[in-house]
């Protein structure tokens, strides 16, 4: 046992070699946020001055801002002075053995078909699995390096590629963008950095899964992806298994930047802890995701399957600045028990002949509350632009809510915007039909829900799609019948 602990410590030390978790006792800042804390974080991470200044400006902006109240979610007030902004991630869980893990979680892993080794990683106990991942990650890293692709933690990028970071950090999501973005900009701890050079088509799907620290990135993650002219990358975020995370508040930022003829495809399967059946606990997920199609003919595509978190607040958006650029948003958001989701997208059409497509599928069960909130803005310069939005809600049970709040702003006569929304429920007739063919009610609901969500799920890479389907069925367990 002692041996194992030593091994864990050694591995974590070597992984977080940039001082993130070098000495657990010393690296926890006192609770609360102040300029001193920000100086401390920046110093600990040995950051160049521009990053420190960025953080400080964000902090000062944040102090003047108010927590937004327009969203249709309810939660007790968050005390921002009652949390650590720089802490060793989950030191306690590292000493756990599999036997100490909540059997309910293990049961869930089992149902998802996650191999034992991965279960250990997720529960924070695995050693060998981490070793496996290290080798996998390294292999990929070498392959990517040959192509000139940079794929590393953002803290590493700040050290190794400061010019790139300086040029793009905050270029899509300014530090003063919104309350949670400002908070993130002030205190972000880690996240991914990706740069795809001109004309390179990234041969594999990049995923946080291959980065060891991904399973334990903190509550203020920051991701920056840049696709240079004519390049392509598909990026997978998140974990396909449920994550038990001790952080209540998650305020992440993702910035995507595409140059001329470039394309970024960004997929998320989010399954953070949703709280228990009575609505206790669960993650508050306040995320700012935005892509800028800066160059002509560029494309950004967001796909998300959101089944977790007690509160989901995110609007992955596209700024279609380049002529002929394309923005896409495909989303499935499921709320069960007491979960609340307020999610959607914003499509800003600025360039000529820009196109956007929005497919949003909300599923509400239990006492879940699910809102789609979206903006389609066609500005005067966006001649001949097109948007198509389809926004459906599926209700399971009579205690849930489904809402849509689409804003459509059109300032140009040559553009066409179409928006359709429907609401439906799973009919007893359909369930009975499937029952009659020998399928249990639970499976029948799973089938129907997956059919309903298919248009979105088929946008996901294959392995992700399979997991997403399982998650949907799993998240609805016990909601019918």
């Amino acid at each position: 046992m002692a041996e194992q602990n030593n091994l864990i410590e050694e591995i974590t030390k070597s992984e977080y070699k940039y001082g993130f978790v070098s000495n657990i006792d010393q690296d926890i800042t006192p609770k609360g946020l102040s300029e001193e804390v920000i100086h401390f974080i920046s110093q600990k991470k040995n950051e160049p001055d521009f990053v420190l200044q960025f953080r400080l400006k964000a902090y000062r902006a944040w102090q003047k801002m108010k927590e937004p109240t327009w969203q249709k979610v309810h939660f007790p007030p968050i005390d921002y002075q009652d949390m650590h902004y720089y802490a060793a991630p989950k030191s306690s869980s590292k000493t756990k053995t599999l036997a100490e893990i909540d059997p309910e979680i293990l049961d869930t892993y089992q149902k998802l078909g996650i191999p034992l080794e991965e279960q250990k990683v997720l529960a924070g106990v695995a050693v060998d699995a981490i070793l496996d991942s290290v080798s996998v990650a390294t292999t990929f890293k070498e392959k990517l390096q040959d192509l000139g692709i940079i794929f590393c933690p953002i803290s590493e990028a700040i050290q190794d590629y400061p010019e790139l970071v300086k040029q793009y950090l905050g270029s899509v999501v300014p530090y003063s963008d919104n309350y949670f973005a400002a908070l993130n900009s002030a205190v972000f701890t880690d996240g991914s950095f990706v740069y795809i050079p001109k004309g390179v088509r990234c041969p594999i799907e990049l995923s946080t899964y291959f980065r060891i620290n991904a399973a334990q990135t903190g509550q203020f993650e920051r991701t920056l992806i840049i696709a240079d002219e004519g390049s392509y990358v598909s990026y997978l975020e998140g974990c396909t298994a449920p994550m038990r995370d001790e952080n209540q508040l998650h305020a992440a930022i993702v910035e995507l930047y595409t140059h001329k003829d470039a394309e970024i495809k960004y997929s998320t399967v989010q399954n953070w802890y949703p709280g228990d059946k009575e609505g206790r606990g669960g993650i508050y997920n306040f995320v700012t995701k935005r892509g800028l199609c800066a160059g002509d003919n560029s494309k950004i595509s967001w796909t998300q399957v959101e089944t977790g978190s007690a509160i989901t607040w995110k609007y992955p958006s596209c700024i279609l600045k380049g002529d002929n650029s394309i923005g896409e948003f495909y989303s499935v958001a499921l709320t069960n028990n007491y979960q609340q989701a307020d999610t959607g997208t914003k499509m800003y059409h600025i360039g000529k002949n820009t196109r956007s497509r929005i497919v949003s599928k909300g599923i509400s069960a239990g006492k879940g509350d699910n809102s789609y909130r979206g903006l389609v803005r066609i500005s005067k310069s966006a001649e001949n632009s097109r948007n198509y939005t389809q926004c459906d809600s599926l209700l399971i049970g009579d205690q849930c809510g489904a809402h849509t709040f689409p804003y459509i702003e059109i300032e140009n006569k040559s553009s066409i915007v179409e928006h359709e929304a429907t609401t439906s429920k799973i009919s007893d007739e359909s369930i009975f039909y499937l029952n009659q063919r020998g399928i249990s009610t639970e499976d029948a609901v799973g089938l129907i829900v997956n059919g309903y969500a298919r248009e979105v799920i088929k946008q996901l890479p294959m392995e992700f799609a399979v997991e997403a389907q399982r998650l949907l069925s799993l998240s609805l367990e016990g909601s019918v019948g």
């Binding site: 059109i410 140009n412 066409i416 179409e418």
Partner: protein, 422 residues
């Protein structure tokens, strides 16, 4: 007095002891604590009042109309003469101008309490939070009460809202209509402006449809120069009642229509048709809130807009389905055409649903005139301009054809045809 000066002049507008009505006191209180809405308020996000802010309005427009001028109006304007015509000049009822009838009665009353359904439900969109509702309450002080009697024969009534003043004036018409059980009425609100000065008309109207009542309702705002109107209309439907609401707005400088509709019992039906045409710098704002409170009710909206020149259109249609309002059918369609690069449209269709056994949908589409159709017409030798007019006419007539009241519909139709003459 300018709009933003109202707050500091409240004591002047409302002297203690003017009335002890609780409604009025509440409204005074609201105005004391709230400012004229601006674009930071969600419901006024796209509807700028700035064009009205600069105007210095008089609050006591004189009634200068006599029977002679009424007769003249009736000759000039497209008014269905086979109806009972009730003129309301600068917000005041002109009592001698119509024949009484056993199917209805009309009188001036103290302002009645807001219907309980119109309160407390949608927290943000309720008229209780509407600045102009409270302003109307304080300035109108009394209301015109029109009662359509129980089991009466079908009746057609035109309320002529006439404004005339030699100076910029702010008027506050206040009308309450009650359709008793099993009554059947066609009622039109027709606005006529004879003034060459600026008029801001701030109307509040509550209409109650009792059990099994049928109302075919029209709001016509056509060719009103120097006229800006804010119309807050609340309609409360009781069991088995049926409403058709028809709205037409054309060539009017500033219009804010807010129709709030409450289904308070089962088996209510409402069909809402609207056509709005903006020209020059017109701003036309249609807000609709439909609250399905009880099961088995049906609502269907069709609103179409044509925005020419630099006009701005706003369409905000909210449907709220309460818990237990099962078997609700609620549909909404909004179509808009922008014919100019300076025109703008902002739409926000909202669905808020808390019951599961419902059928709800909305569809929005905005675009230019369909290219293929245009090409087809032109390939048959029709000029581009005429082809566009034909298609716009078809677009508009689709809504007008749903207007049941022929005497109201026909003049509008010929008006549009004249505007879009080929």
């Amino acid at each position: 007095m300018k709009l933003n000066e109202i707050q500091e002049n409240l004591n002047f507008l409302y002297k203690d002891g003017d009335s002890n009505e609780r409604n009025i006191l509440e409204s005074v209180d609201f105005l004391k604590n709230n400012k004229v809405p601006n674009s930071k308020i969600e419901l006024w996000k796209y509807t700028s009042l700035s064009s009205l802010q600069g105007i210095d309005f008089s609050l006591d427009a004189k009634e200068e109309l006599n029977q002679l001028s009424i007769t003249k109006i009736l000759q000039d304007k497209d008014i269905p003469l086979n109806s009972i015509i009730i003129p309301i000049a600068n917000g005041k009822l002109m009592n001698n101008s119509f024949e009484a009838d056993d199917r209805f009665s009309i009188e001036i009353r103290e302002i009645e309490k807001l219907n309980e359904y119109a309160k407390n439900y949608h927290p943000l969109q309720s008229v209780e939070f509407d600045y102009f509702y409270h302003l109307n309450t304080v300035l109108a002080q009394k209301e015109i009460h029109l009662q359509i009697h129980k089991n009466s024969d079908p009746i057609q009534i035109v309320l002529l809202f006439i404004s005339q003043s030699d100076r910029n004036s702010f008027i506050s018409p206040r009308v309450r209509i009650e359709l008793e059980e099993n009554s059947n009425a066609k009622i039109a609100y027709k606005f006529i402006n004879l003034s060459e000065s600026e008029i801001l008309s701030n109307l509040f109207s509550e209409i109650v449809l009792k059990q099994n009542a049928i109302l075919d309702f029209y709001v016509i705002e056509d060719g009103l120069e120097n006229f800006q109107a804010i119309n807050n209309i609340n309609i409360v439907q009781e069991r088995d009642s049926k409403l058709t609401s028809n709205s037409f707005t054309n060539n009017t400088k500033f219009i804010r229509n807010f129709l709030r509709l409450y289904f308070t019992d089962e088996n209510c039906e409402a069909i809402l048709n609207g056509l709005f045409i903006g020209n020059n710098k017109d701003l036309i704002d249609n807000h609709i809130l439909i609250e399905h409170i009880k099961p088995n009710c049906h609502s269907n909206q069709l609103y179409k807009g044509i925005l020419n020149d630099s006009s701005i259109g706003i369409f905000n249609g909210a449907i709220l389905v309460h818990p237990n309002a099962q078997k609700t059918n609620a549909f909404q369609t909004n179509r808009n055409i922008l014919t100019s690069d300076l025109a703008k449209i902002y739409t926000k269709p909202e669905l808020e649903i808390y019951a599961d056994d419902v059928k709800c949908s909305h569809g929005e589409a905005t675009g230019f005139i369909d290219d293929e159709m245009l090409f087809y017409l032109r390939s048959r030798g029709i000029s581009e301009e005429n082809a566009k007019k034909l298609l716009l006419q078809a677009f508009a007539v689709d809504v007008l054809n749903k207007f049941q009241w022929v005497e109201i519909k026909e003049p509008i139709e010929s008006h549009i045809s004249a505007n879009l003459e080929v």
